[in-house]
């Protein structure tokens, strides 16, 4: 081992003597060749479009004719537009209520299913499976179940209860949407929390038991505080994911009835863009990016704090 290290050192020294400049240049060229394709593709397909979005958001482009520069008019319109404001309310409601449901449900079932038995891993998989299915398809499935002649309404009809407009009542549609979101997403949190729970040292639980703590007290005072950092990260991950909700809205409610389930992403793509108001759509998109980035930065900050807490 020592000989090897010595050999490497000698070779490196010889290389430097032989021609510092040219070796370095070749080194840089090789690095560029290896990282270049990824950097170039990512720049053209992700970074440049963000710049283009900012540019287009300052125009009145409609997708066909020449774009005319209109300054900040789109942004001013953004804050005056009732559709836009309403879409934010819907998005915030989905994000906040959905996150509470997903994290709460995830935590409850994680505490229930944290053991390493066969039946527990079956139930965890059962809670998790919607996570691997496209949101678009889950939306169509639930639309077929909750629709006017769907399974739920035909069962209610047998009990003599008239058709309930799960997807066609302005208030109920949002509730149904949030239900499907929580149903589809809480299993991910279950898995995340179970992984964290399994690292809680058994000594702590035994200590709590010696002190005479009930199961509820142990969970509340010992177990949950131990996994609090993971819960925080999951909360922000769910929030960031939900303010982007789009696919599920397309298939479950189509933004209706009367725009009551129209999220911001849905507004951008299905209304502004489809209505050939491209300039306005990109202004909305830029605004969504800013909000999304702010939330994502929050994740990073929280994660750093968590890492520091873990290290210290």
């Amino acid at each position: 081992m020592v000989e090897l290290a010595e050999l490497i050192r000698r070779r490196a020294a010889a290389g430097e003597r032989a021609g510092r400049g040219s070796t370095r240049l070749r080194e840089t060229a090789v690095s560029l060749g290896m990282a270049g394709p990824a950097v170039a593709l990512y720049t053209v397909m992700t970074v440049v479009p963000v710049g283009v979005a900012v540019y287009l958001s300052l125009t009145n482009w409609n997708g066909f004719s020449d774009a005319l520069f209109v300054g900040l008019a789109n942004y001013r319109h953004l804050f005056a537009d009732p559709d836009s404001t309403h879409a934010w309310y819907v998005t915030a409601a989905i994000a906040v209520v959905g996150t509470i449901g997903m994290v709460g449900g995830g935590l409850a079932y994680a505490l229930l299913l944290k053991g390493r038995s066969r039946s527990n891993s079956f139930f965890r998989a059962l809670a998790y499976y919607p996570h691997v299915i496209s949101a678009l398809i889950l939306g169509y499935l639930w639309a077929a179940i909750l629709g006017t002649n769907g399974a739920v309404n035909s069962t209610l009809a047998k009990l003599g209860i008239g058709p309930v407009g799960f997807l066609f009542d302005e208030h109920l549609a949002l509730v149904s949407l949030i239900w499907v979101i929580v149903w589809a997403g809480f299993g991910f949190n279950v898995v995340l929390f179970v992984a964290a729970l399994q690292t809680v040292p058994a000594e702590l639980l035994e200590a709590a038991a010696i002190d005479g703590a009930s199961r509820w007290q142990t969970n509340r005072r010992v177990v949950v505080p131990m996994i609090a950092p993971v819960v925080t990260v999951a909360t922000v991950l769910n929030l960031v994911g939900l303010i982007r909700a789009y696919d599920l809205i397309v298939s479950l409610t189509g933004g209706g009835p009367a725009g009551s389930t129209q999220t911001y992403s849905y507004l951008i793509l299905a209304r502004s863009f489809a209505g050939t108001k491209v300039g306005y759509a990109t202004a909305q998109a830029v605004f969504l990016m800013v909000v999304s980035a702010a939330l994502a930065l929050l994740v990073t900050a929280l994660r750093n704090r968590q890492d520091q807490a873990a290290a210290g």
Binding site: A35, F123, S134, L136, S154, T155
Partner: protein
């Protein structure tokens, strides 16, 4: 002396008395049974309805969605869905698998070497590249797809498979590179030096020596990207117009079902066809998929 007292003290002081120690096999509490029952009903019923109603005529689905009318079960609707000219499910599978494979291969081919350079570089500038890529995870897909159309139009790739692939690969790069960099940093750099002494260049060192050691990270990235691309709806819908004639499973379902949403004999069989491959994969590769998706989401 100290050691002795400790070893003697440990068992009696730190172990709870028999009565307080949580017993290994306890009878499930009623609360647990109720909650597991609710979970089972909520999660299993939609799949049951999907399965059963794919084989029933419309009247039966509407009147008795939960029932299994043995005399009326038929594979006709499933066959119709497979052969339907409006919704070409076999073509949808084929094109989606093609897309997944091409994107996976290109993503690994690009993200691997880039991550290697970033992970092994001592220079600050190169390391900052990681942050540059990570910034991409902040950008919501639905928001960036409109300017992507603009860029693709400028380079003449709008409504082409190449354009869609380019966008999809770019969208998988940030998280893939992030996971790879993290993993490569755990591989001892001595291995690289040894390869260099044996005369291997950097490409060779990476593909022949380092890459084979990255198997767990590669599996994670493959699962993450494959499921992401398979389920993606926004990109294929916006970047490949229906006129192009290419449908993924999701865009084909969208095109088919938005037209026939009230005909449940079309809805259920088509959804079953769309879900079946994913569910089968999930059952077989459950552990890999769950850990891969979880690691990808949390670390990315």
């Amino acid at each position: 002396m100290v050691v002795q007292t400790e070893t003697e003290a440990t068992p009696s002081a730190f172990r709870a008395p028999e009565s307080l120690r949580p017993r290994r096999r306890r009878r499930p509490s009623p609360l647990r049974l109720v909650m597991l029952g609710l979970l089972f009903v909520a999660m299993a019923v939609p799949v049951y309805l999907l399965l059963v109603n794919s084989f029933k005529p419309q009247q039966q689905i509407a009147d008795n969605p939960f029932g299994i009318p043995l005399s009326e079960l038929t594979g006709r609707y499933l066959l119709d869905a497979i052969e339907s000219p409006q919704f070409n499910v076999i073509g949808g599978y084929g094109f989606t698998v093609f897309l997944v494979v091409v994107v996976d291969v290109l993503c690994i081919a690009m993200a691997g070497p880039a991550a290697y350079v970033i992970a092994r570089s001592a220079r600050r500038r190169t390391r900052l590249l990681l942050l540059y890529f990570l910034a991409g995870t902040f950008i919501p897909g639905a928001a960036v797809v409109i300017p992507v159309i603009y860029v693709l139009r400028a380079v003449g790739l709008v409504n082409t498979i190449t354009g869609l692939v380019a966008h999809d690969v770019a969208s998988t790069l940030p998280v893939s590179i992030f996971l790879f960099v993290g993993f490569i940093r755990t591989i001892p750099v001595d291995i690289d030096h040894a390869a260099a002494i044996d005369g291997a260049g950097r490409y060779r060192t990476f593909w022949r020596i380092v890459f084979p050691l990255m198997r767990p990270a590669v599996v994670t990235v493959l699962i993450l990207n494959s499921i992401g691309i398979w389920n993606d709806f926004v990109s294929p819908q916006m970047l490949l117009s229906p006129g192009s004639g290419h449908y993924t499973v999701t865009t084909a379902i969208y095109a088919g079902i938005s037209q026939y949403s009230t005909d449940l004999t079309k809805v259920f069989p088509n959804l079953l066809l769309a879900v079946a491959p994913v569910i089968i994969f999930f059952i077989y590769l459950q552990r890999h998929i769950v850990s891969g998706l979880t690691v990808g989401a949390v670390k990315g």
